[in-house]
Amino acid sequence: MAHIVTAFDEDLVQVQARISEMGGLCEELLSKSLECVQARDTDLARVVIERDRALDLMEVALEESVVKVIALRQPVAADLRVLIAAMKIASTLERIGDLSKNIAKRAIPLSAATHGRVTTSIVRMGRQTLVQLSDVLNAHAARDVDLAVQIWNQDYEIDEMYNAIFREVVTYMVEDSRLIGMGAQLMFIAKNLERIGDHTTHIAEMVYYIVRGKPIGEERPKGEPAGVDFIRA
């Protein structure tokens, strides 16, 4: 009997390791896509798009192995939670990878014309998002519920950054209609970053769920949504 438990432990360790590895790839994709925005490097953008495929394959493989483990070992309670959370985290990471890839794609038309100040703000927002992603992956690896809750409560900072960029970009577009095309690209990039931020809070929720066995269950603080009325102001 004892060796079956060990084998199952090994299964769990491997599943978590795959999550960490997917997380590492996500960090790389996001960080490279920010480099694309900053340095307007179209070759790098193609590398990011290519690397995103590896992430998709990892998600498929992870899902398969989780299904196999559940079928074979029929885990209950805490163990089952770990496996279900792993599937959810993997699909969240896959989406983060997609969003990063989209950022890199948007950076390609940006390379022709760009607005330096907004780019700086977006890259700063992106760095903050990357830090949050790294933190939540660390929280997952270390089962650090406190860190997870902290990240969950902190995400509104990224929302605020998004709102500030939104205002800035809209102001430019109103002032100079030639900037509308580029402004739209920048806005999409900022929006993608904001969604990556949301996804990290989802991973934080999963970490909480794995350890505590229940959802965080409160209302997450969010940034004031950016309305359109300020355009008149």
Binding site: E10, G24, L130
Partner: protein, 447 residues
């Protein structure tokens, strides 16, 4: 019987030597390995004797297969403990990872460098950088050695270099196949590199302006100013000034990098600060006369000696007096004097350089010692400034453990004061004795 033990020890030593070769170690480490091995081998005869004491009494039954097996196991455990002990003591962060990814062993240096590391856990929980994961997996697969770089983001960005190699299968760290990983923190070096490349970018930017001016005037002289003697005279003057600025810039950059190179070495020779200030300020009297500035050098002779580099300290005062005259303007009064004792700098000796010039707006004061920082770039450039004078002052004072105090307000002139710790009073032979002390001790004494 002790044969088994010896074989195991030799195997362990061999494995570690192989690991040491596969993961090239700096001389200090090689020495450490040697020391630990020598220590272990020195204990071997003693151990052998202990084993022979345990030889059964005559007449007793000869040891059976079980006993042989037990002894083999014991010696295996011992050699494994010895191998772990050895890796544990090496000052370089080393990880041993078992097939499947669990960490079999992380030595104390690794635990210090990567605080979240735990034996028995999967390495990807600690280092998930794709380059690292891929290198470890590939080395398990093909046995090849790899060196890779990766970054981690935890509080701050850190840069690492890792070398991955497969361990011979001795069982010292477990029954599975193992790889050994050396992890070096390269963060500091990377930052220095970053600073350097920023610096080169700055410098080339600064050189471009005078160079563009010179090229522009050369072209003008070649074409429409060709037959205009007045213009030619004027343009040659400007070109000479710009070329001079470039030469000064290059000189300043070189002296700045020289100073930085030795910034961590505290000078030990003793000098009279007053004397150095006096000599370097009076050397500028002819320049003052030329510029119509009243330069008053009022430092008394003597004063407390300071430990310092004479030429560098002279450069500090030359740069400060140069600025005071340059920015003070015509008819300004520039004074060089011993600073009265200050509460903010207790037990320090100070020399002040004051001027009656326009002064400096408050928001600029904290940034004056940055490279290439100028309150008014075009004005400073017209005066031939490169924006490196005060950066040089700051680095020299850093090296001396000194400080630069700047007191200035628009319309009220400026006072730049150099504060240094006086050298410890002592007989003339003291300076020599200081040089012979261990660096750590000398540092403490100065700090």
């Amino acid at each position: 019987m002790s044969k088994a033990l010896e074989i195991w020890l030799a195997l362990a030593a061999g494995a570690l030597m192989a690991a040491a070769v596969a993961v090239p170690l700096p001389p200090l480490l090689a020495f450490a390995i040697g020391a630990v091995l020598a220590f272990a081998l020195a204990r071997l005869p003693g151990r052998r004797r202990a084993v022979s004491f345990a030889t059964p009494e005559p007449g007793a039954e000869p040891p059976g297969a079980a006993a042989v097996e037990a002894e083999a196991r014991e010696s295996r455990e011992m050699s494994s403990a010895f191998a772990q002990d050895l890796v544990e003591r090496l000052p370089t962060p080393l990880l041993i990872i078992a097939q499947g990814g669990r960490i079999s062993f992380a030595n104390s240096a690794a635990r210090a460098a990567l605080p979240r590391i735990r034996s028995g856990e999967h390495f990807a929980g600690v280092i998930r950088a794709p380059a690292f994961v891929e290198a470890v997996n590939a080395t398990f697969a093909d046995g090849g050695e790899r060196t890779i770089e990766f970054t981690t983001l935890r509080d701050q960005e850190r840069f690492f270099e890792a070398r991955v190699a497969r361990l011979p299968e001795t069982g010292s760290f477990g029954p599975e196949r193992q790889v050994i990983v050396r992890v070096d923190d390269r963060t500091q070096a990377r930052r220095a590199e970053q600073q350097r490349s920023d610096f080169i970018a700055n410098a080339s930017h600064e050189l471009r302006t005078p160079l563009a001016a010179i090229i522009g005037y050369v072209e003008t002289l070649q074409h429409h100013a060709r037959d205009d003697p007045g213009a030619r005279e004027r343009f040659l003057g400007i070109m000479a000034r710009e070329a001079g600025r470039m030469r000064r810039l290059v000189d300043d950059l070189l002296s700045l990098s020289r100073i930085e190179m030795h910034e961590h070495l505290r000078p030990s020779e003793q000098w009279s600060l007053n004397q150095i200030a006096f000599e370097s300020a009076t050397a500028l009297l002819p320049v003052a006369e030329q510029q119509g500035v009243h330069l008053r050098v009022e430092v008394p002779t003597g004063g407390a000696p300071v430990a310092g580099d004479r030429d560098q300290l002279a450069q500090v005062f030359a740069n400060l007096v140069d600025n005071a005259m340059k920015y003070g303007g015509k008819d300004a009064v520039v004074r060089v004097f011993a600073a009265p004792p200050s509460k903010a700098f207790p037990n320090r000796v100070g020399i002040s350089v004051s001027d009656t010039g326009p002064g400096i707006p408050r928001e600029h004061v904290p940034r004056l010692t940055e490279r290439f920082y100028r309150v008014n770039a075009s004005q400073s450039r017209n005066k031939g400034g490169t924006g490196l004078g005060l950066a040089i002052v700051k680095h020299i004072l850093n090296r001396h453990g000194g400080r630069l105090e700047i007191a200035s307000a628009p319309g009220e002139g400026s006072v730049f004061t150099v504060w240094l710790r006086p050298a410890e009073a002592g007989p003339a032979g003291e300076a020599v004795a200081t040089e012979e002390r261990a660096p750590a001790e000398a540092d403490q004494r100065i700090a």
